[in-house]
């Protein structure tokens, strides 16, 4: 079953970087949203295994989108979240309610990003197998 990822990111270069890094994985389907509004529309319409958010986005910023998704009864309420952030912000304490989120600073280090994706795919497979037993 395909591993579905939503990327909410307005920078074209980052979009292409993520797209390229994911190209090495078979059976990963990537949906790209260029702003907060599109991201919300996508996240309320279909379920994703993973959602990747950039902080600054036009229309609605990443934080408000995540708050909306968690406040409502959407299918992605409990989906795994990766937040892209600038290096300097990583040092701050994680905000309550975001403890499970993975923070990846930009510029993205290819090996680290791919390792995280690999781990998440493997975890999802393991969950599927154990619930099938």
């Amino acid at each position: 079953m395909a591993f579905k990822i939503l990327l909410a990111e307005d920078d074209e270069v980052t979009q292409q970087i993520v797209r390229s890094m994911l190209s090495g994985f078979s059976d990963v389907v990537l949906t790209v949203a260029c702003d907060g509004r599109e991201a919300l529309e996508a996240a309320l319409t279909q379920s994703f295994d993973l959602m990747i958010f950039d902080q600054n986005m036009p229309h609605i910023n990443g934080d408000r989108v995540i708050r909306h998704l968690r406040a409502g009864n959407s299918v992605n309420r409990d989906a795994k979240v990766i937040r892209f952030t600038a290096e300097a912000e990583v040092i701050r304490q994680p905000a309550p309610g975001t403890a499970g989120d993975i923070v990846i600073p930009k510029p993205i280090r290819g090996a680290e990003f791919i390792a995280v994706i690999q781990e998440l795919i493997q975890r999802r497979l393991a969950t599927a197998e154990s619930s099938a037993v």
């Binding site: 920078d11 074209e12 270069v13 980052t14 292409q16 970087i17 797209r19 390229s20 890094m21 190209s23 090495g24 600054n56 892209f84 600038a86 290096e87 300097a88 930009k106 510029p107 993205i108 280090r109 290819g110």
Partner: protein
Amino acid sequence: MDTSAARKLPAGVPDVLQAAHQVFINLTTDRILRIEVLTQAVHKGEDAVSALTEIAQIAHKIAGVAGTLGYPQIGDSARAVEQKLKADIAAGDPLRNWDSLSTEIEDLLDALEDLL
């Protein structure tokens, strides 16, 4: 300038990032022009805060990807420009460090032009 070398990926960057590298190069020309227009506006005495905010936003985007694509120094310069601009806008006179900052921005633009 050897244009074929300019388009090649820097050493150590995986081939899979070729497409992203190209997108970055394509955007760089427009960004250089935009930053030049904005610095002109500041020199002319137009709304400094909005011009400087936009320069900071462009620098933020460059800083977010340059390291991944094999240009860590450009990334660091862009991040420094972004943070200094934001600090000046937020905590004091936005033009407080304009003299030294406009030189830093010039240097950043020169480094970006070398990529083209």
